[in-house]
């Protein structure tokens, strides 16, 4: 218990009991139930649907079979191979890439105090794309399966930290400066990538464009177990910053006066967002719109408090990418659509709808 001037004043001059009407209590649990149900349905759909369909009870039997539990449902070894070797790692990556993008988007929107911020703004995606394009042009990516993701990951992280360092002056980073530097660098790298494309032969051109458009087609267990933990760690770190993010939405100075070590939090948030996005981009290529849309989608139902917004954005990001990848695999099967194209096609109308719905509160100045 603290006793300061206010508590003392309250002793002497108590106020009438509060007449505060609370927000409806059912809203939070309801929102979480809907999100969880959607997520689980999409997990099963991603495991079951494709070139040939596997029923729910067989999926469960295969997964439990891997744990050594036999529930007495028969399945073929072909079904087992498709589900366990191909679809499970791909589903895990889709969920984690989406969760990472959603969480990064939510955290960066709070940090930049700008609802239009998204993970690409801090340069992760363009840094990764540039690094990949350059390495393909120079013929560095042939052979080992891990080279390209590693190049992308390092490229994204280096560029983000570079932008961060450039925006620093006198020990403080102006978030508005970082936003502008990010926009400028993104534009420069877009041109640089176009230039590299113009120099590339047909094979390299295909490789680069295919990578930039994004795909989970190359998902293997090796990717899931390397990128996965990185993304999970970054999400965990950002969840722990939720309290600081709430205060940072008031402004840097205000957060500092409320006890936040602002520079430390800024660095942690930017780095974790770059990590979550970078690991995702490394294995899936550039997946646009998820980082922007996922937080908005759930802000409507769980509210602006980052303590619920960040976890909810993880789930809504996972839902978006699981849905998009399912579409990418099945709409024109056996041909695959680029994942980035599907997320844009889904993301844009969703975003426009959100803006349409929010236009009244937007006019008043807030999301």
């Amino acid at each position: 218990m603290t006793t300061g001037p206010l508590a003392q004043l309250r002793e002497r001059r108590p106020s009438a009991p509060p007449t505060v009407t609370a927000l409806p209590r059912w809203r939070m649990p309801f929102s979480w139930t809907v999100l969880t149900a959607l997520f689980l349905a999409l997990v099963l759909a991603n495991l079951g649907l494709g070139a040939f369909d596997v029923g729910v009870e067989r999926i469960i039997a295969i997964l439990l079979g891997k744990l050594g539990i036999d529930i007495g449902v028969q399945y073929t070894s072909a079904e087992e191979a498709v589900v366990w070797v191909i679809r499970v790692p791909r589903m895990i990556l889709a969920a984690l890439v989406g969760a990472g993008l959603g969480v990064s988007g939510a955290a960066l929107q709070g940090l930049f105090r700008n609802p239009l911020a998204d993970p690409s703004l801090i340069g992760v995606s363009s840094g990764a794309a540039f690094a990949v394009a350059l390495s393909v042009l120079l013929g560095l990516t042939s052979g080992a399966v891990f080279i390209q993701p590693l190049v992308a990951f390092v490229g994204g992280l280096v560029l983000t930290l570079g932008i961060y360092a450039f925006s620093r002056s006198a020990g403080r980073v102006q978030m508005a400066t970082m936003l502008l530097v990010g926009i400028a660098v993104n534009a420069l790298l877009a041109s640089a990538i176009s230039f590299i494309l113009s120099l590339s032969d047909d094979g390299a051109l295909r490789d680069i464009v295919y990578w930039i458009l994004g795909s989970l087609g190359g998902s293997v267990w090796d990717y899931a177990v390397t990128a996965g933990p990185l993304i999970l760690i970054a999400i965990f770190v950002l969840v722990r910053q939720a309290g600081a993010l709430n205060l940072l939405t008031l402004g840097d100075a205000e957060a500092r006066h409320l006890g936040v070590r602002v520079e430390r939090s800024q660095f942690i948030i930017v780095t974790a967002a770059a990590l979550a996005t970078g690991a995702g981009v490394a294995v899936a290529g550039v997946v646009g719109f998820v980082g922007l849309v996922a937080p908005h989608l759930v802000r409507l139902v769980v509210g602006p408090d980052h303590r619920s917004l960040i976890p909810a954005s993880a789930v809504s990001g996972a839902i978006l990418v699981l849905g998009a990848d399912l579409g990418a695999r099945t709409i024109f099967a056996p041909a695959e659509l680029p994942l980035g194209v599907v997320t844009a096609v889904i993301g844009t109308p969703v975003f426009l709808y959100l803006i349409h719905r929010a236009r009244r509160s937007l006019a008043m100045g807030g999301w």
Partner: protein, 268 residues
């Protein structure tokens, strides 16, 4: 119950932006139990002085002390429990409710025993003192400027610090709420708080503050007891307009009545 030594003092505070000196070797101090007003015309450096005292402005020279310890000695959380700062305006791009915003003022105390209950009580109390309880669940960005300003004040009060720095708490407020807010600042001072308030209205300053600092072009031209510092002889050259002192019909403290330039010219 005024303490003898200042709990917050700034010595020789100088703030420069490029070549322009916004604050020129300003020294101020405020004691526990004291309400200190900072007055001066536009651009005199009132907000800069507050930012210097709060550590927001980079000092070219000078040091700020809290309890005789330099500001840089404190870690962020320790400082947030000692001192709260109310900014002139608070832009918030997300739809937090007014109560959410006030509750953020409790952040420095999070993790203390009994804080969730105690914090909720103080949040409600701060809102009732600032007359903001009626729109507790309305979204902050949808409130009017005056309402936002009082919610922000409630947030700063909820922080429960013995030192308060408030920048123009009465801006955007209607007459009743201007007095309500300064009355509140008075009461907190009588509970032992040290309050520094930037004030635009000289009569509000004269009516409520114990002492005043008068700023002119970045320098302190007068400081001390408000009855002496807020005297026409001091204020006329600073504001470039004549004042006369007029006894208040009800109160002991006199009112400052400005004279239009034409009148003072005729008399001169």
């Amino acid at each position: 119950m005024t303490t003898n030594e200042p709990v917050l003092r700034g010595e020789g505070l100088t703030v420069r932006v490029d070549d322009k000196t916004l604050l020129d070797r300003a020294s101020v101090g405020v004691r526990g139990g004291e309400l200190l007003g900072v007055v001066g015309p536009n651009g005199a450096g009132k907000t800069t002085l507050l930012k210097a005292l709060s550590g927001d402005a980079e000092l070219a020279e000078g040091t700020v002390y809290i309890d005789d310890r330099p500001l840089s000695d404190f870690d962020a959380r320790e400082l947030a429990r000692r001192r709260a700062v109310m900014p002139q305006s608070s832009y918030l791009p997300f739809l937090f409710t007014a109560r959410d915003v006030v509750r953020m003022g409790r952040a420095p105390w999070e993790g203390e025993r009994g804080e969730s209950e105690h914090g909720a009580k103080l949040t409600d109390y701060a809102m009732s003192l600032t007359d903001t309880r009626d729109y507790a669940v309305r979204a902050y960005p949808t409130l009017s400027g005056g309402e936002q300003s009082r919610v922000t004040l409630a947030r700063v009060l909820a922080q429960e610090t013995p030192i308060l720095l408030i920048d123009e708490p009465t801006a955007h407020l209607d007459l009743r709420h201007q007095h309500l807010v300064l009355q509140l600042a008075r009461e907190l001072a009588s509970e032992g708080a040290a309050v520094v308030a930037v004030l635009h209205d000289l009569n509000l300053a004269a009516m409520y503050t114990d002492s005043s600092v008068v700023l002119h072009r970045g320098a302190v031209v007068a400081s001390g007891d408000s009855q002496e510092a807020l005297h026409p002889d001091v204020l006329s050259p600073v504001f470039g307009i004549e004042f006369v002192l007029q006894p208040h019909p009800e109160l002991e403290r006199p009112m400052l009545v400005p004279l239009p330039a034409s009148v003072s010219h005729d008399r001169g």
